[in-house]
């Protein structure tokens, strides 16, 4: 209790060490938890965007799509796919496709996507992006609209800002593939777990005649990028922490001359070298403990704030606090040298001081 009381009475001398350690630890924790949460959120978002969907975009318009689709389906056991042809107009883009809702989780404000069954029954159906729907006077499902001189019944309306990593749907009108007369761009969306298609595609489509974008590939790239960012930030935070710890050691060393008299008095009234040594170690431990507790509490507050603001969900992973198991002993180990120097001060030298 006396040692704690001493520490409390001399808290001003330790306040800067505590503050710098606290800031460095908080930075380290915040970087670690925020980047981890960011990665989890990103991975979750990519999952929501249906991770298995790949996009094959043809650069050469002369591709025999039906043969290609059949070949792909046979070779890679692809059961769900949709050709996707885009025809650019001034105010909107026409997209000819099959039922995309079997590939992408699309959110509808009204109705749903036209089904392959409707198409087979020659039902002229259209799905509207949100902005186009508004431009067309907000027709309800079942109402007919005229597109490029033909009448189509509205099947569904997508919600505002519908997008995935392949397209933004607000200015698109989706029509059944069979109505396609001309197109400027064509793609094939399909679901496949097969990791590598390029060899066969090179053979069939010709090298450099296509683009293959796989969501898993994108996810891996994003994750790698984030991990690299996290590693850089963690390294910088660790440097900050090391500098802060060295600052604490420096403070302890530079305070030795001013504490010489105190050490002398304590030795004169019965303190052993080991008592002085452990006092310095205890002080270092208290500095590290207070800094760590402060940093942990601030980190929790930050996580709660981030969660309340809805930026992303930080999760409940507390494994990051394991870092304290390393940092607190490291701080004490660094203070070993000043503690030994303090313990070696002789009484007569100290009292004369």
């Amino acid at each position: 209790m006396l040692l704690l009381s001493e520490f409390w009475q001399r808290r001003r001398q330790f306040s800067l060490s505590i503050l710098s350690n606290y800031l460095a630890l908080f930075l380290l924790l915040a970087v670690s938890t925020l980047s981890r949460a960011l990665m989890q959120t990103l991975e979750g978002r990519l999952e929501q965007m249906s991770l298995q969907v790949s996009c094959l975009q043809y650069l050469d318009q002369q591709v025999d799509e039906r043969t290609l689709s059949a070949g792909l389906a046979e070779r890679y056991h692809i059961s769900r796919y949709s050709e996707f042809r885009i025809c650019h107009r001034d105010e909107y883009d026409l997209v000819y496709c099959r039922d995309l809702s079997v590939l992408f989780p699309l959110d509808f404000q009204l109705g749903g996507f036209f089904t392959d069954h409707q198409v087979a029954n020659n039902e002229n159906a259209a799905v509207l992006g949100h902005e186009i729907w508004q431009d067309l006077g907000c027709p309800l499902p079942g109402e007919e609209i005229n597109i490029d001189g033909a009448w189509f019944s509205v099947s569904g309306v997508l919600t505002n800002d519908t997008e995935n990593i392949y397209f933004s749907a607000d200015e698109l009108i989706f029509l059944p593939l069979d109505y396609c007369r001309d197109y400027q761009e064509s793609r094939l969306f399909f679901i496949s777990d097969v990791p590598y298609l390029s060899d066969w595609l090179d053979e069939v489509l010709g090298e450099d005649n296509y683009l293959l974008i796989r969501q898993k590939m994108l996810k891996t790239s994003f994750s790698r990028l984030l991990r690299q960012g996290q590693a850089i930030l963690m390294t910088l935070s660790l440097f900050a922490l090391i500098i802060s710890l060295l600052g604490m050691v420096n403070h302890m060393l530079s305070s030795l001359p001013t504490r010489c008299r105190e050490i002398g008095i304590k030795k004169a009234i019965g303190a052993r070298d080991s008592d002085i040594f452990f006092q310095f170690i205890l002080e270092a431990q208290l500095v590290m403990l207070i800094s760590s507790l402060g940093a942990a509490a601030s980190n929790e507050v930050l996580m709660k704030t981030v969660s309340l603001l809805g930026l992303f969900e930080p999760g409940t992973d507390r494994s990051v606090y394991r870092i304290f198991l390393m940092v607190i002993p490291a701080g004490c180990a660094l203070c070993f040298y000043p503690a030994v120097k303090a313990a070696k001060i002789s009484i007569s030298q100290a009292i004369r001081h």
Partner: protein, 214 residues
């Protein structure tokens, strides 16, 4: 015999010069004595006290305490208490905490009754919560003495205890020493003041590291 010093030598190096602060002193001090060590500045009085307290080691000679040879300060830790000229209280601790601090290092529990008794004896009972900066010179010195008395030491060493006190406080301090001596405590006091020294049982005169008269 409480203290036996045999041909004790203590040297200090000051640049290229060697100073013999104690130059072959031999000394015997019996139990329950009240001794004054008198001499001019630099004659080795404080060094003698530091050696007796175990703060410094002899370069040559032998030091025996209660018949046992003193090799390091372990033997003396719980038996000798030092009273300094400038009280040596820790400024950031209250009077009470200063009094109790030695108990932490000596691994001795101080009974509250004992703390009260010593404080009353020295008139510092009402000062427990004060910080040293709020005390007068006499009060600080009495706190320093109380800290030394709390732990039943067999020998009290006082290094010019009246040096920073006015005459009245100096006399009061001597009265306290006289009372402690009458209760069985051994006291060795370093002083410049011949009048104070004459109130002791025995006077040791020192000069240039030698005992010139006892």
């Amino acid at each position: 015999m409480l203290i036996e010093l045999n041909k004790a030598v203590k040297r200090y190096n000051s640049g290229e010069m060697e100073v013999r602060a104690l130059d072959g002193i031999s000394l015997q001090i019996e139990q329950n004595c009240f001794v004054a060590v008198l001499g001019p500045s630099g004659c080795g009085k404080s060094t003698l006290l530091n050696i007796l307290a175990g703060y410094e080691k002899l370069d040559e000679g032998e030091y025996r305490f209660a018949g046992q040879k003193v090799e390091d300060d372990h033997l003396l830790r719980n038996r000798v208490a030092m009273i300094f000229q400038d009280h040596q209280l820790l400024e950031y601790l209250s009077v009470r905490e200063n009094l109790l601090l030695p108990s932490l290092y000596r691994r001795q529990r101080v009974e509250p009754a004992r703390l009260k008794q010593v404080s009353r004896q020295l008139g510092i009972e009402g000062l427990w919560k004060r910080m040293p900066s709020q005390l007068s010179g006499g009060e600080k010195q009495r706190c320093g003495i109380a800290r030394a008395l709390l732990y039943d030491c067999r020998l009290i060493l006082a290094d010019e205890p009246t040096g920073s006190l006015d005459r009245a406080n100096g006399q009061a301090l001597m009265a306290i020493f006289a009372q402690l001596h009458s209760e069985g405590c051994s006291i060795i006091m370093v002083t410049h003041d011949r009048q104070l020294a004459e109130r002791c049982q025995r006077i040791i005169r020192m000069e240039d590291g030698h005992v010139i008269a006892q």
